[in-house]
């Protein structure tokens, strides 16, 4: 590598990008300028460099002009670097002797109103890129084998769908769920809009399929502890929380729960119904294995005695760490409801008869704590009118600025359920706009209007409780009439916003994936790649990426499943050869690099008495370059981001060609 000749026949290709670049920057001027730069022997331009004829231009020019480096001045390298690397490789060059000058995102688009200065900047950018290209070195792409297994984190409907798709194609799937049962939030719902399918009826078959599938290994009551590795070769350490019940022995008979003396609010029912300290969260739980809540268990041993010879209960069980090797990972951690008690004006948590939409689902659900009877929590009576507060915590600058996308529709559905189950009870919907965007959603909205639900356009300003009747006095402005309105409601349902699950943040740090300002996980591209992350081989499905209804969640999950299988089916993945390299002659073995490396990719080996030398494990090095920046002897170099390459860019910026 040391003696290789530096590129000195650089070709510069300037893209018009339609009018995206050419509309601001005079291409001819830029091309002529490029020709004056050192080492540049050829400069050309084309309407769309990324098109086939554009790439063809690069290929032919490499041969005709005997180019040994290519610079394309166009969009962001994050967008088209791979395209043009392929084009230069097709022309016979090493794909790494290629540099992109980003004159679109970094110039023409952001300085549209100052074309002259944008052009100056574009010239600087091209000059810096040429300087860097003249110092690039050929690198070899390495291929590594891929572990033929996929992990899906979160077993709500997104995780279940993804796991089934993957497993059906014959790939081992690990489905990780932190709760005792799979099913997620969808298993809490009663009916689903707009078709009014029973949620459990359409979900349970899938849950059972998961349980039975030979390729799916479901690990419930399990959390991700640590993630190591990279595309194709992740090692995920999961914590199997102490369940207190041996899954292999428990047959789900429930004798233990019958004798358990401890009663607690069931989280699955959002505290509306009871459970024992040894419990299954709901009757259709998969797997149907009991779980001991050790925080409330008093270790009275009654359940152990009752279980008897089956011997399924172990009160001394400890958490267990298990290492799992997978090639790709899908994150499907779902959502929580926004803590609506923060909106104090609506009194959730203070007034008995103010509940959330999800609590409503449990109350109206036949398998819920009331057997499907909607009652007021304060006195168990049937409500005669129910107020719904839409956009509760959504589209609200004090809470969440975004639209949660499902609240309009499920509130309409709630209204329908009330009118169907309890004729005479009137639902009042306080809304800002009804967003009925999906297939057959708008029709559903009309149907609910026709059925007699009352709509009041206006946000509820505050709610008071009548201390005697426990009724809720709802104050709002009817913005269509322009008058304040007051409603004496028996019950209020807040359509609380969707927020990412609290634990997602911890997981996100373990996986080193990004989030958007709204705290949902960030997709690689909002339109063209909504299920990938910027980290290779980690994919997203469902509400962890943004609020979604069930059809969208299932669609995204299937997409993520397909994408996650690609590296598995390819069998090997290319590693970017951007890794640190040690110059043995310069290394004094001080070890500064090793202590900085976040991946423990650098080891010091003895090469004689008292002499040590650093060496880098290529597969473990991710190419951040932290070591190279710190090496006092400059013995470690970051390939493709070498000191002289970066310094050439800096120098080129401040020493314009041709004087100045």
């Amino acid at each position: 590598m040391a003696n290789e000749k530096k590129p000195n026949r650089v070709g510069v290709f300037i893209c018009h990008c339609g009018t995206n670049i050419a509309g601001v920057i005079p291409i001819d001027q830029l091309r002529e300028y490029a020709m004056t730069l050192p080492n540049v022997v050829h400069a050309d331009n084309y309407t769309y460099m990324c098109s086939t004829p554009g790439q063809e231009k690069i290929k032919t020019a490499i041969k005709e002009h005997n180019l040994d480096a290519v610079v394309v001045a166009a969009c962001s390298p994050r967008l088209h670097e791979p395209t043009f690397r392929k084009a230069s490789a097709a022309g016979g060059l090493n794909p790494f002797i290629f540099e992109m000058a980003n004159i679109r995102e970094q110039s023409s688009w952001i300085h549209m109103k100052e074309p002259e200065r944008a052009t100056e900047k574009a010239k600087d950018i091209v000059r810096m890129s040429v300087a860097r290209a003249s110092l690039l070195e050929p690198l070899d792409t390495k291929y590594i084998p891929v572990e033929k297994a996929i992990m899906v984190i979160g077993a709500g409907v997104a995780g279940i769908q993804a796991a089934l798709e993957i497993a059906d194609s014959g790939i081992t799937t690990y489905l990780i769920e932190k709760d005792p049962s799979i099913g997620g939030n969808m298993s809490r719902l009663d009916k689903t809009f707009p078709t009014l399918d029973c949620s459990q009826c359409i979900l349970t078959p899938k849950m059972v399929d998961v349980d039975r599938h030979p390729n799916i290994k479901t690990l419930t009551y399990t959390e991700v502890d640590k993630v190591d590795g990279y595309i194709g070769n992740f090692t995920v350490t999961v914590r199997r929380k102490a369940r207190g019940v041996k899954e292999a022995e428990c047959n789900g008979c429930g004798d233990c729960a019958a004798v358990c003396p401890v009663t607690k609010g069931n989280e699955f029912d959002l505290g509306l119904g009871p459970r024992k300290a040894i419990y299954v969260p709901f009757p259709q739980a998969v797997p149907l294995k009991y779980t001991i809540d050790f925080d409330s268990c008093i270790k009275c041993d009654l359940c152990v005695k009752k279980c008897g010879d089956k011997n399924a209960i172990d009160l001394n069980m400890k958490d267990e760490l298990v290492e799992i090797k997978v090639g790709t990972i899908i994150v499907a951690t779902g959502f929580d409801l926004y803590e609506i008690e923060k909106k104090e004006e609506w009194g959730y948590g203070r007034y008995d008869n103010v509940i959330t939409g999800l609590q409503f689902e449990r109350l109206i659900n036949a398998s819920g704590p009331t057997g499907g009877k909607l009652i007021r929590p304060s006195d168990g009576q049937k409500p005669h009118n129910v107020a719904f507060v839409l956009c509760a915590g959504s589209r609200d600058q004090d809470a969440n600025p975004y639209c949660s996308r499902v609240c309009c529709m499920y509130s309409l559905k709630h209204a329908h359920q009330i009118m169907e189950k309890m004729p005479g009870t009137i639902p009042y919907l306080f809304y800002m706009d009804i967003r009925a965007f999906g297939k057959a959603y708008e029709e559903f909205y009309y149907r609910i209007q026709d059925e007699g639900a009352k709509f009041v356009r206006g946000r509820v300003s505050y709610i008071e409780e009548d201390p005697v009747t426990k009724n809720c006095i709802v104050h709002a402005e009817d913005t269509l009439l322009g008058t304040p309105v007051t409603l004496d409601a028996d019950m209020v349902v807040l359509a609380s916003a969707i927020v990412p699950k609290e634990t997602t943040e911890l997981l996100r740090n373990k996986l080193t994936i990004s989030r958007s300002p709204d705290k949902f996980l960030l997709e690689a591209h909002p339109k063209l790649n909504p299920f990938s992350t910027s980290t290779d081989a980690i994919f997203l499905a469902g509400c962890c990426q943004g609020p979604k209804d069930i059809p969208d969640t299932v669609a995204q999950a299937a997409g993520a499943a397909a994408a996650a299988q690609v590296p598995i089916n390819q069998g090997k993945v290319a590693l970017e050869p951007i890794a640190a390299k040690v110059n043995d002659d310069l290394c004094s073995g001080c070890g500064v690099c090793g202590s900085l490396c976040p991946y423990k990719a650098i080891t010091l080996s003895e090469i004689g008495e008292g002499h040590r030398r650093a060496s880098v494990n290529d597969a473990m090095c991710k190419g951040c370059g932290t070591c190279g920046a710190a090496c006092p002897a400059k013995a470690i170099t970051m390939q493709h981001f070498k000191n002289e390459q970066i310094r050439a860019q800096i120098a080129a910026l401040f020493t314009p060609v041709g004087g100045a």
Partner: protein, 176 residues
Amino acid sequence: MADEFEPKILGILCNWCTYAGSDLAGTSRIQYPPNVRVIRVMCTGRIDPAFVMEAFSLGADAVLISGCHIGDCHYIAGNYKARRRIALTRKVIEQFGIDPRRLKMTFVSASEGALWAEVVKDMVNTIKKLGPTPVQKKVDLHAAGGHAAAGADEDLAEIAKASAGKKLEAAPVQKK
């Protein structure tokens, strides 16, 4: 148009957060001053303080480093290291008579295009108030072909020496 001072600022951005964020600013057509020229590195941890010194020695009016938010580094902890290095480098440039406000590190995520535009606007305003760099650009470090650093691997001290003398006398009233 009056000959207003237009600072020339070097930006060194990490690939995963701020470079992506600045791309987003572009895609969203957010308009901001064209004073910053960007170098992309994979991680702010890659940034050798020598790069910063070199830029100042060559006449940069300011250097802007930006990476992922603390805790969000794509490489776990590169931005922590960069933050420390930049904090120290600020002290070093101050010793050379360069106002430490000319070197700044910010944290802008891939989804914060608008924030990146604000960061640049702020920086440009600050530097406009501070005026041009006190470093006089006569340092004909590497005449050959304009590609200065091509063969250059002088170490930090060397570069600093080349311009240090000038800086100190040229820095008029750089107050603490």
